[in-house]
């Protein structure tokens, strides 16, 4: 029988770091900023699906709970092609995008022009290089999605996100929906090497909770639609991190995509957890922690 006291003693930071390290051990090279420029086209297409359904759903959840308003100044950590910049800027006072990849920045400009959005600015850096002290308390919301897995020092980066907001923080994390395509493709290309884990939710909730935060959650479902060529580009970049991209690997990816979607667009259903909290509010019994 498991000792229930072990629950409160779980070191979630250690779990996070172990997961990060396990990924690193099977990588033949680290992600580079240029990888994200290569991903700009497919990422943009994904985020634009159904008129920015993903960003719109996140905005609706936060708006309903008073986390954002027309007066909000919002900082997005790792904007990619403008994941939240476009849907949020239409409704808030100002969006600031932290985004280092030139390809992604070009995409933000292109998407913003198309949406006739002008109330945004870009900090062309990785988040870790941003001097958070300089921006202390300047935003009403700091938000990020599909980025935190890159931070081994997760609570340090969360604290920096908290430092720059005078209002709320929000992390939008992927939730596993049991899709088998990714696991099957990994097995075909990588054999028995365990696939890398990108645990975001509920691990991030546990981390925040154990460090005294009071997070709330809305689960959102959304669709991503991409051309086969964009999906191929995405998988090519992804697998180049873990193995040499040979003609055989490329053919395996193309075959899998064709079997999945034929010659039409690849439509995927995803689920995410919108996790937000007020950094000034702490669980009472954990006062003084972090």
């Amino acid at each position: 029988m498991m000792d229930s006291s072990l629950i409160s003693g779980i070191d979630w930071v250690r779990f996070w770091e172990d997961s990060y390290d396990a990924r690193s051990r099977i990588m033949r090279r680290d992600y580079e900023i240029d990888d994200w420029s290569d991903r700009a086209e497919d990422y943009s297409e994904s985020r634009r699906t159904n008129q920015y359904e993903f960003g719109e759903s996140v905005y609706a959840a936060l708006d309903l709970h008073g986390v954002v308003s027309p007066h909000s100044r919002v900082l997005e950590v790792g904007s990619g092609p403008g994941t939240f910049v476009i849907p949020f800027a239409r409704r808030v006072d100002h969006m600031t995008a932290v985004e280092p990849a030139e390809g992604m920045i070009r995409m933000i400009h292109r998407n913003a022009a198309e949406a006739e959005v002008k109330n945004y600015s870009i900090i062309p850096k990785i988040w870790q290089d941003v001097n958070s002290t300089e921006f202390r308390g300047q935003y009403d919301l700091t938000i990020t999605s599909t980025v935190i897995w890159m931070f081994r020092d997760i609570m340090a980066q969360i604290c920096r996100m908290e430092e720059v907001t005078r209002g709320y923080c929000c992390v939008v994390g992927g939730v596993s929906t049991g899709q088998t395509f990714e696991a099957e493709l990994w097995q075909k290309i990588m054999g028995n090497i365990p696939s890398p884990q990108y645990p975001e939710y509920p691990l991030i909730y546990n981390l925040l909770y154990m460090h005294g935060r009071v997070p709330q959650v809305r689960i959102i479902d959304y669709t991503s639609k991409r051309t086969p060529e964009n999906m191929f580009r995405m998988y090519r970049v992804f697998y180049s991190i873990y193995t040499e991209i040979t003609p055989e690997v490329e053919e395996t990816i193309r075959e899998a995509l064709y079997r999945d979607s034929g010659e039409g667009p690849c439509v995927r259903k995803y689920r995410s957890a919108v996790v937000w909290w007020d950094p000034a509010v702490r669980r009472r019994e954990l006062k003084g922690i972090a």
Binding site: M1, M2, D3, S4, S5, L6, I7, S8, I10, F15, D18, S19, D21, A22, L64, V175, G178, Q197, P199, Y201, P202, L203, Y205, N206, Y209, V214, P215, Q216, V217, R218, I219, R271, A273, R283, R284, E285
Partner: protein, 268 residues
């Protein structure tokens, strides 16, 4: 590295003692002081759950709600004031009587009671019968928590909602410490959240503040009953409880602030 925690086993171990001590007989003894608290608080915590569903734009007048372990009606009554019908599952006779008395005093005739424990209820007879199934502050009743949650889903055609203490009121914790009562540090909220996510149920999470108000005599009785769950009450305990309540009472009313985690999801 994948996190491998058997949350169901952790839950069963964590609630073991509370489940063993909190019998139907215990809740019959608690009926009076608990009812006093619910009435004096105007069902504050239940009303806040109602507000949550209203704010989300989900609450419908036509709803039929099932409230599992209703007690004297902290959840049942606020919902019955706003929806078509509420069915309360409540095995403790005195609690059920208190609920019906409270309902009558509020002019409510749309409440019915199933006088059984949830485990005894034949879910097949109520398949997809309710729009919302709620279990508030009572999950400790279920060592086999996941099968019981699946049974809740089986009778819901809309939503399920589990509400639980997010953190103990700090004042109450101090009193318990003085009395030498260790209710255990098992964190039910975070365990149930992880358990649900592991099971593929991804609930929304709201953290809701509430205020509980009660008379001094009700507050004293509740703590005395709580002590007697663990050991016989002696004169020293009574003195400590009386003194504590007197010093924490304003104008004859004892008030504590609490926070509950509300987990809710749409049933597939």
């Amino acid at each position: 590295m994948t996190i491998q925690i058997d949350w169901e086993t952790a839950w069963a171990a964590g609630i073991d003692e509370m489940n063993r001590l909190s019998t139907t007989g215990y809740w019959n003894r608690r009926a009076e002081d608990y009812s006093d608290m619910v009435l004096a608080s105007d069902c504050n915590h239940g009303r806040n759950i109602l507000d949550l569903f209203e704010r989300e734009g989900l609450l419908q007048k036509e709803w039929h709600v099932l409230d599992i372990a209703s007690g004297p009606g902290a959840v049942t009554v606020p919902f019955a004031e706003r929806v078509c019908r509420v069915t309360a599952v409540e095995p403790a006779e005195r609690m059920a009587a208190a609920l019906m008395s409270y309902a009558q005093s509020r002019g409510l005739s749309n409440i019915e009671v199933i006088p059984q424990t949830w485990q005894e209820v034949d879910v097949a007879a109520y398949a997809k019968n309710y729009d919302l199934v709620i279990c508030c502050h009572a999950l400790w009743q279920f060592p086999d928590i996941l099968p019981q949650i699946r049974r809740m889903e089986a009778v819901s055609r809309g939503y399920c909602c589990l509400a639980h203490g997010f953190e103990a009121p700090s004042d109450t914790s101090k009193l318990m410490e003085t009395l030498g009562i260790d209710e255990g540090g098992f964190d039910q909220f975070i365990t149930i959240l992880n358990l649900l996510n592991d099971a593929g149920v991804n609930p929304n999470v709201d953290v809701v503040d509430y205020t509980l108000t009660r008379s001094v005599s009700s507050a004293v009785a509740s703590v005395q009953n709580l002590v007697e769950k663990y050991r016989p009450l002696d004169s020293n305990d009574s003195a400590i409880i009386q003194e504590y309540m007197q010093s924490h009472t304003m104008k004859g009313v004892y008030q504590v602030n609490g926070r509950m985690g509300v987990l809710w999801w749409k049933v597939a």
